[in-house]
């Protein structure tokens, strides 16, 4: 199995969630989530809406307070002091009329020279290099608000990949993107997983995509219900309980 090979070869980093719970006022959003995300592996989080997938991602990103432990470990199980996390949000809401090009956005994120004074050759080069990673090099001079859904997600992926992260978090990155854009995005991510051995955590509702790309699937419904391969999860009783109206996506394709 390619996935197992990847684990052995890299060992650079793995993300371990141990008994993670998030409470918001009286509500318990997630409770006692246990999950390992290995580098070189694409771990897909599935689960019903309101089941806590995005909450878990936000805990890993450090954007919400949580109980339990989220550890970033290297080969010798020593915690990494500085783990770089790249994050591609689900459909970024922003002001589409803003005078801002893809080049400006990347230069602002990657270089120190204030973008209002102009974008120099070095900053432009940094932006180009980042876009190449996400196969988005042709978009550099486009206005951010003029990008299609798929183009925007690739620009955000380019941003998330620069500087190279140890963990890449994708929150339904291709929902609302046309079929062609989805394939391009996921093929890019898939290639990166192999080449750069980063751990990838992705939320998805698209069972076909999950079957095609996931090394590991975790069903999150308030807590970790099942973790395994796509087939194992889709065939589990817990899956049927969480998605009572979906009939055996594991067998359908």
């Amino acid at each position: 199995m390619q996935a197992n090979e990847a684990i052995h070869r890299c060992g650079l980093c793995r993300i371990e969630m141990r008994g993670v719970s998030v409470r918001m006022e009286q509500d318990t959003l997630i409770q006692d989530v246990n999950l390992h995300a290995h580098c070189g592996q694409l771990t897909v989080l599935i689960g019903p809406n309101g089941g806590g997938k995005t909450t878990l991602l936000r805990a890993v990103l450090g954007q919400v307070p949580y109980e339990g432990k989220i550890l970033h470990l290297d080969e010798q199980d020593k915690p990494f002091a500085q783990v770089r996390v790249g994050y591609v949000p689900q459909q970024l809401p922003f002001d589409k009329q803003m005078p801002l090009t893809v080049r400006d956005l990347l230069a602002a994120a990657l270089t120190r020279r204030p973008v209002w004074t102009g974008v120099g050759r070095k900053a432009r080069q940094a932006a180009e290099n980042a876009l190449i990673l996400a196969q988005a090099q042709g978009l550099i001079n486009k206005r951010l608000g003029a990008l299609s859904g798929g183009e925007l997600q690739r620009v955000l992926l380019a941003l998330a990949l620069s500087p190279a992260p140890d963990l890449l978090i994708l929150d339904e990155p291709v929902s609302g993107v046309d079929h062609n854009g989805q394939a391009l995005f996921l093929d890019t991510v898939n290639a990166l997983r192999r080449q750069q051995h980063m751990a990838i955590l992705m939320v998805s509702h698209d069972w076909t995509l999950v079957r095609e790309y996931a090394d590991q699937v975790a069903l999150i419904d308030k807590t970790t219900r099942v973790v395994g391969t796509a087939e194992e999860v889709f065939d589990s009783p817990a899956f049927a309980a969480s998605f009572p109206h979906t009939h055996g996506p594991g067998r359908s394709a």
Binding site: Q63, L92, V115, W116
Partner: protein
Amino acid sequence: MMDGLYALMDQLLPTSIFGMQFMKNALLALLLLTPLLALLGTMAVNRRMAFFSDALGHSALAGAGAGLLLGISNQTAVLIVFGVLWALLISRINRTGGASADTNISVFSSTGIALGLVLLSQGGSFARASSLLVGDVLAIGPNDLLWLAIALVGGVIAWALMYNPLLLSAVNPHLADSRGIKTRLVEDLFVCLVAVAVMLAIRWVGVLLINALLILPAAAARNLARSAPQHALFSVIISLLSGVIGLIAAYTLGSSVGAAVVLCAALFYALSLLVRRMLRIVN
């Protein structure tokens, strides 16, 4: 130093309008004031903070009133301190919720005006309040100009340091967060910088019109620009042109300088809308 500058201006400027020293001072003041406001305005417009900065300007009345009450003679210092606190307070209350942002800001806006009028009209005279409402750039002296020059340099440096993280958080705060940017901190620094720039300018431009200098050039530039550097450049150019043309127009017509400058900027805004339609600048 000022004498040399005046002599140079006499040689360079093609018109006798700037023959009098107060006109030279006013011109220098506008050339120093408008670019910083125009730069900060680009972000105020992108972040939809036009109403916020309006409320901030209104708080100058309350600030001046507080200075009077406390018997502090350095009015600019009081205005700056009060403006910074006021701006941080509005931001804080906007974040912690309750009513919507526009309602919160409106409450602060009217409170600032009312508080200021109550304090400044003690003794039954509105003279103190009305001079602050309208402002007078023709009254500016060499010493004030020196402070404006220092403020311009300091303001532009601060702006250069905070711009990139601020731009990312203006696009989307969660995106900025995920890149390790302290979103709240940069936003707070930005409102503080706006407060300082507004309060330094307000004595010369007036409470009623200060917000126009912040918003109008940046709004007009936004109609024409497609990139962030263009936005900044166009905004500064429009603000400088408005300053110079407005001053000349005010001198010729014998009217208020601040008002003429703002009218000029409004004209540029109208033009920018026309140009945008004609060129169909969308992408």
